[in-house]
């Protein structure tokens, strides 16, 4: 192998070259398996079928509508969860009886996948958006409140000491020192809450007919169109990555860096 190419493989592109080869092999293997015609194409679609479904979905707007309605629901539910979660977290950190009672409940409910609330939510709110929204809120709220409580409880005592010494007290001590010092933990909780909300939303939409990505999955199944199912899955992965890695990942890293935690 010429030295130039060897250097290329050893350099910082090596990882990316490896990745490209891996995905090319994956797609190639997939296409080869399809050509063996072991299964009918509606059970095992070709990569080209998926690409086509993806193009079609965006061309006729069905994916666009699905994405906007799912994201709309997600944002709405998440914002409600954020407000409730922060308030609950502050209460759990400050009021001992709340921690001893509601705190225990929160801890217990955290081990319940929030989609399990759906039957009850349908009964309470009826066959409409609110039921799904409730599931999304329940998915995010617990981890946000838990992280807020943790963050406030673990405020470095030196910050509070310094602030009190400089004349801070009461709610100003709270808003200018306790909450900011809890922020890295709160942001981690927000990130976790976001991914829980996203998963709950998909589960909810899949089980219940509303315009959205989950519904497009269900539709693909009913039409025996596995190309569409896989295409929608790709969209869901992409949106999840954007939320997790770009939005919250970057926010979390920047906060941790500034707080000197990296």
């Amino acid at each position: 192998m010429p030295a130039a190419i060897r250097r290329l493989f050893a350099g910082r592109y090596a990882v990316w070259i490896g990745r490209i080869i891996f995905f090319a092999l994956l797609l190639g293997g997939w296409e080869a398996l399809y050509r063996l015609e072991l299964w009918p194409s509606y059970v095992f679609p070709a990569p080209s079928d998926v690409a086509l479904a993806l193009a079609r979905g965006f061309a006729d707007q069905t994916f666009v509508i699905g994405i906007t309605s799912s994201l709309g629901r997600l944002v709405e539910g998440y914002l409600i969860a954020l407000v409730v979660g922060l308030a609950l977290g502050v209460l759990m950190a400050q009021v001992r009886p709340v921690k001893d009672t509601i705190g225990l409940l929160v801890l217990g409910l955290q081990s319940l996948p929030s989609i399990c609330w759906l039957p009850l939510a349908l009964l309470w709110f009826g066959l409409n958006e609110s039921a799904i929204l409730f599931v999304v809120v329940m998915g995010a709220v617990l981890s946000i409140s838990q992280a807020t409580e943790d963050g406030i409880r673990n405020t470095a005592p030196i910050y509070a000491r310094a602030a009190r010494n400089l004349g801070a007290k009461g709610w100003r001590l709270y808003t200018s020192v306790v909450l900011p010092s809890a922020l890295p933990s709160i942001v981690s909780g927000m990130k976790l809450g976001w991914s829980f909300a996203w998963r709950s939303l998909m589960a909810g939409e899949l089980l219940y007919t509303l315009p959205g990505l989950g519904n497009l999955l269900a539709m693909g199944r009913e039409l025996n169109d596995m190309g569409q199912v896989l295409a929608v899955m790709l969209v869901i992965i992409a949106l999840g990555l954007i939320g997790d890695r770009l939005l919250f990942g970057v926010l979390e890293r920047r906060v941790r860096e500034r707080w000197g935690l990296l």
Binding site: I158, R161, A162, A163, L166, G167, S176, E257, R258
Partner: protein, 256 residues
Amino acid sequence: MKLQVKGVEKTFDMRGRTITALENIDLEVRAGEFVCLIGPSGCGKSTLLNLLAGTDFPTKGSVLANGKPVVGTNPSRVLIFQDGGLFPWLNVHANVEFGLRMKGLARDKREKIVTSYLEMVHLAQFSHAWIHELSGGMRQRVALARALAVDPNVLLLDEPFGALDAITRDLLHTELQEIWMRTKKTVVFVTHNVREAVVLGDRVVVMTPHPGRIAAEHRIDLRRPRQIENMKTVNLAAKISADLRLSEETTHARSH
């Protein structure tokens, strides 16, 4: 502001055992005086500083600031910690401004005070830097500016330069002396570095551990600003070190 410690004893409960951190402490710090508390770890020097700050209270005896008992922390007596205790979510400017905001000062007044103290500690051009971007020495300068900004009568420093390299520490010794000569604050400075104590203090109070007691006092009459490499400083430091070793050996002998 004059500080007085009268017949102070401080005990802690540690897993059922009573630990005497301070015993029979009498100390007076004149207004505008620079006093260094020195001793090995466990001699109670930081505990004594906390009593002066009002973050902790004596078991017996009394602590007075200008004749009045210390009942809690107050911006007239500001503590500076070894790692600065700066707020990482605020930039340099906002850190220095913190105490002024808490006082409820108007924006233009705050601005003037912050600018003047940032200049005093030579950090005017780092006003918008974040704390994680600063070196250890710069952080201690910010902590000093933040403390000075609330215009306290007393500065209480708890091994503020303990984590710094020698060159930075020497530089900060010079700067702290200059600031002290300009502002005439009362200073109590805790350290376990004898030379540092001799360079900075009008008086060096030597403490010994188990239980924490005042073992000796040395008046330092050298001209300021003092340098750490100066022969007089070195000789005096050597003498105090010898004292310290002797008293440590006797306590050691006593406890066996």
